[in-house]
């Protein structure tokens, strides 16, 4: 019998280590081996991380202000004009771009502006000609500063105040709207994907695990549910309820969870008869623990493989709703609205081109990541 005893390995014998389980280790290595997917993953993470800090990149308020020895953070905290002008100020939100305020602050301290001095809603009041205006690098110096009171010599005509990608038809900065629009698209996609994964995986798990009548009834329900004309229902609900991030999320969630049910149900049906599941049942482990501990990890592989594709699908749906005008409330930064502006202002190609480039880069990155994740989870795939 002694021959069968596993020899003691000093490294392994020291106890549980924080290492990844060998299965996950292999998957991570496989993911890394797909260079395109791996780089897409990092580029996407950096872009998403940057867009989360959008308030410090594109904003009509300075990041940091030192005023009379006091440090202020206007990007995060709202200060009324009274703070700087005393009784002279009457605006509740300070307009830091105005000459009065900036002169006052410069006289008593300093301020640091973000690289782009517009938020997604700020209209540029010094545009050289009627909106939409061209990106500044398509105009000569005299033209691009012609909107400012002192022309070329105006202190306000600086790089941060110029519109890098031009403005839209309401004189709002396209670059700022692009950054905020990217952020809201990805956040919406992530929220929708995670929420529908939770609902869909739960429904699929219950169906697959209990089978029988539960499965039959839910399957019929899903068949009826998924044959609804989703777009028309969305239009009707959008007409009744006020549009907004969470309302839209809720409406789309009603229909998007169905996509997960099929694969998860199949995995649970297959795995519930595995011997280790039977062994757990013989040990007296309850159904919920069995589903979470033994069955869910099996189904997660299929689900995770799906996620990046569902994510890109959700983003596209939001964009198309915005394009049709049934999406986010008017004024919010959205790529769909940018596309529709591009459509109605064909003389201003920078609108459509910006939206196109952002959408295609974002979706391509997600698809590349999805491909790499799918290959990484494929047990039969071998990499050299």
């Amino acid at each position: 019998m002694a021959a069968d005893i596993v020899s003691t390995d000093p490294i392994l014998a020291t106890g549980r280590t924080g290492r990844l389980s060998p299965v996950n280790r292999r998957r991570w290595d496989n993911f890394k081996a797909n260079r395109r997917g791996f780089w897409s993953f990092w580029i996407f993470l950096v872009l998403f991380g940057l867009s989360l800090c959008a308030e410090f990149i594109a904003n009509d308020k300075p990041i940091l202000v030192s005023y009379k020895g006091e440090l202020l953070v206007p990007a995060l905290v709202q200060y009324p004009e009274e703070k700087f002008l005393g009784d002279m100020g009457f605006l509740a939100i300070t307009d830091y771009g105005s000459a009065e305020i900036s002169d006052e602050i410069k006289a008593n301290g300093w301020m640091i502006w973000p690289p782009i001095r517009y938020s997604y809603q700020t209209a540029n009041s010094n545009i050289p000609h009627s909106a939409p205006t061209k990106p500044f690098w398509l105009m000569d110096k005299a033209e691009r500063c012609s909107g400012y009171p002192q022309g070329e010599n105006d202190p306000g005509c600086t790089l941060g105040n110029l519109n890098w990608l031009g403005t839209d038809d309401q004189a709002r900065d396209v670059a700022a709207r692009m950054i905020y629009g990217f952020r809201i698209s990805v956040l919406f996609g992530l929220c929708l994907t995670i929420a529908s994964a939770i609902v869909g995986v739960t429904a699929g798990a219950v169906q697959g695990y209990f089978g029988g009548w539960t499965d039959l009834l839910l399957q019929r329900f899903i068949e009826i549910w998924s044959s609804m004309p989703v777009l028309y229902i969305l239009l009707i609900i959008a007409a009744i309820l006020p549009p907004g991030f969470f309302i839209l999320l809720g409406i789309m969630l009603l229909f998007s969870w169905v996509g997960f049910v099929g694969i998860v149900r199949a995995e649970f049906l297959r795995a519930r008869n595995f011997e280790y599941v039977r062994a757990a049942r013989a040990l007296g482990v309850n159904n919920r623990t069995i589903m979470f501990r033994h069955l869910l990890p099996n189904a997660m592989v299929a689900t995770l493989t799906f996620l990046p594709f569902i994510l890109s699908g959700s983003i596209t749906t939001l964009t198309s709703l915005d394009f049709l005008g049934f999406g986010m409330p008017p004024g919010s930064a959205s790529l769909g609205e940018l596309i529709s502006q591009g459509k109605s202002n064909l003389q201003a190609p920078w609108l459509g081109l910006t939206a196109f480039v952002v959408m295609s880069v974002m979706l391509s990155l997600l698809i590349f990541i999805g491909e790499a994740a799918r290959d990484a989870f494929d047990p039969r795939k071998t990499f050299r």
């Binding site: 019998m1 002694a2 069968d4 005893i5 596993v6 020899s7 003691t8 390995d9 392994l12 014998a13 106890g15 549980r16 280590t17 389980s21 060998p22 299965v23 292999r26 290595d29 595995f274 011997e275 280790y276 039977r278 062994a279 757990a280 049942r281 013989a282 040990l283 007296g284 482990v285 309850n286 501990r293 033994h294 990890p297 071998t382 990499f383």
Partner: protein
């Protein structure tokens, strides 16, 4: 007729995966003469199947490669042959039959079409001539009423019949060499004996050679002229069968020959307390038909079985696949519902719900057949063993639980330091020990062992049998031992039940049943299991 048909010289096979190279076969050489049966014997992982598959180059190239070696068939090197030349040899001069007859036949084609395809490919026979030849072949391999079977699909045939069809396909072009890769492992003992007898007669009739790959020494003794013993990718001993069995030279051969399950079962003792008792147990699965899904009939998986099991005793349940022995075990442990009275340590558990059963679950445990399937691949060994403790003794602290896990691992002969590893890092025998440790950690009184040794190599089988017997003596455990392997049952069980189609054929002390079986069916089973002899009695035919 004594010239060499196939000569394998210094064959090596290497597999590359994830930047690592493993040598599965290392410098193997053997010859097969015309009309000779050579057996390649070894345990799982010894490289015997890989060697056989290399002959026809059926390995997954390019992840597999041959660093060295030549394979001379009729003087021609198959290793350097072109793909077109190889296709001429495959299925024509050299044919193969595989272990699993279900997956080696295409489920979407009738058997006539599958056999005729080979005739068409290599000999260009089609139409009426092909049909006549197919009928002739089916007759040869002993399929009754072949005319009616021509249009049958694989799922309509039993396992034995499927393997006969595979043999018919292999013989279709009168090959010179037949490679049989564990052809009887997936079959019941009585069917195995029939297939072996068939292969032997066919070999004599056609004068072909055979390369027989197996782990079962009983089969080798029955069928082979010469034996090559393989371990760890090398052939350690070659010689005539009789000589190897009488006078093994290499230590590994001796180890293999000595590894039959040995030992005596516990003595029957009616004074011991009764642990499990069942009366008139029935498990019927309804067959529904028609538009309203009315129950028209039942599959009687278990049909009226009485049994009594006492502490420290083992009841063996023997039967072929489909006899209902596993269903009986699952019904006793209340994993499926049944009719009839079941009592377990004084509780009448027949009507208990899953919740009511939970407090009793730690007293009854199950060890399953497949040590690869019964351990969750995503959990460390310590978590697998501790799972039952978390349910039944939630008051234990992390430390106490860990101590219990370590103790139970040592009890089954594993190093407690290995408990942080994952199941895939263990061999089959070690995994089965882990499964046993998972059952033992709860200190049960009754353990259902569902073919716990069937998936293991011979020498490991004997170790597990010894371990089970030691544990039984130490804890006075009651075992329900379900197996189709009569040798293992003889070494463990003091009482036994022979089951067939859900009913008891014979029941009583195992000594009496082994020495003096009363029923024809039991006699046929014994002959097939111990002597590999096919007894053609009506009781065996399906």
């Amino acid at each position: 007729m004594t010239d060499t048909l196939l000569s394998v010289r210094n064959l090596s096979v290497a597999f590359h995966q994830g930047g690592k190279t493993t040598t599965a076969v290392d410098g193997v050489s053997f010859d097969i003469k015309r009309g000779e049966v050579v057996a390649l014997v070894g345990e799982s992982g010894s490289g015997k199947s890989v060697s056989a598959n290399s002959i026809l180059k059926l390995l997954p190239y390019p992840s597999a490669s041959h660093p060295s070696g030549e394979i001379l068939f009729n003087g021609k090197d198959l290793m350097t042959a072109s793909d077109a030349d190889l296709r001429q040899v495959r299925g024509n001069d050299i044919t193969m039959i595989f272990q699993e007859p279900m997956t080696s036949l295409n489920p979407l084609h009738s058997i006539e079409r599958q056999i005729a395809e080979i005739l068409d490919l290599h000999q260009g026979i089609t139409g009426a001539a092909a049909r006549a030849r197919v009928l002739e072949l089916l007759n040869q391999v002993g399929i009754r009423e072949p005319e009616k079977r021509l249009a049958a699909y694989p799922h309509e045939l039993s396992g034995g019949q499927r393997q006969r069809v595979m043999i018919a396909m292999a013989l279709a072009n009168r090959p010179e060499l037949l490679i049989a890769d564990e052809p009887t492992t997936a079959l019941d003992v009585t069917v195995q004996a029939q297939i072996l007898a068939l292969l032997k007669t066919l070999k004599d009739e056609h004068g072909m050679s055979m390369l027989f790959i197996t782990h079962d020494l009983g089969i080798v003794r029955k069928i082979a002229d010469r034996v090559c013993v393989m371990t760890k990718g090398k052939i350690v001993e070659t010689g005539p069968t009789a000589e190897i069995f009488a006078n093994p030279q290499h230590a590994y051969t001796r180890h293999l020959l000595a590894s039959e399950p040995k030992g005596v079962p516990p003595v029957s003792d009616t004074s011991k307390p009764v642990v499990m008792q069942a009366e008139d147990m029935k498990v019927w699965f309804p067959i529904k038909a028609g538009f309203l899904r009315k129950v028209v009939d039942h599959v009687k998986a278990v049909d009226g079985i009485d049994l009594t099991l006492r502490a420290g005793q083992t009841l063996g349940v023997v039967g072929e696949s489909g006899s209902g022995k596993t269903t009986l075990g699952l019904a006793l442990t209340r994993l499926i519902s049944s009719k009839g009275r079941v009592s377990f340590i004084g509780n009448d558990i027949a009507g208990y719900s899953f919740k009511q059963m939970r407090p009793l679950r730690n007293r009854m445990q199950i060890v399953f057949q497949d040590p690869f399937g019964s351990l969750s691949p995503r959990m460390a060994v310590s978590d697998i063993i501790a799972e039952g403790l978390k349910v039944h003794e939630p008051s234990l602290s992390e430390k106490e639980r860990d101590a219990r896990v370590a103790a139970s691992l040592e009890e089954v002969g594993l190093d407690a330091a290995t408990r942080w590893r994952y199941p895939h890092e263990f061999s089959g025998g070690q995994r089965q020990r882990i499964a046993i440790a998972r059952a033992m950690v709860l200190k049960p009184q009754f353990v259902m062992l569902d073919e716990p040794t069937s998936a293991l190599d011979m020498s490991v089988q004997a170790q597990v049998v010894d371990l089970l017997r030691d544990l039984q003596a130490k804890h006075s455990l009651a075992y329900l031992f379900i197996s189709h392997d009569l040798k293992v049952v003889r070494a463990l069980a003091n009482d036994m039940i022979v089951m067939r189609l859900g009913k008891v054929v014979e029941q009583g002390p195992s000594e009496r049943i082994f020495t003096a079986p009363q029923e024809d069916y039991t006699k046929a089973l014994m002959a097939a299991a111990f002597n590999m002899e096919a007894v053609d009695v009506p009781a065996v035919r399906q």
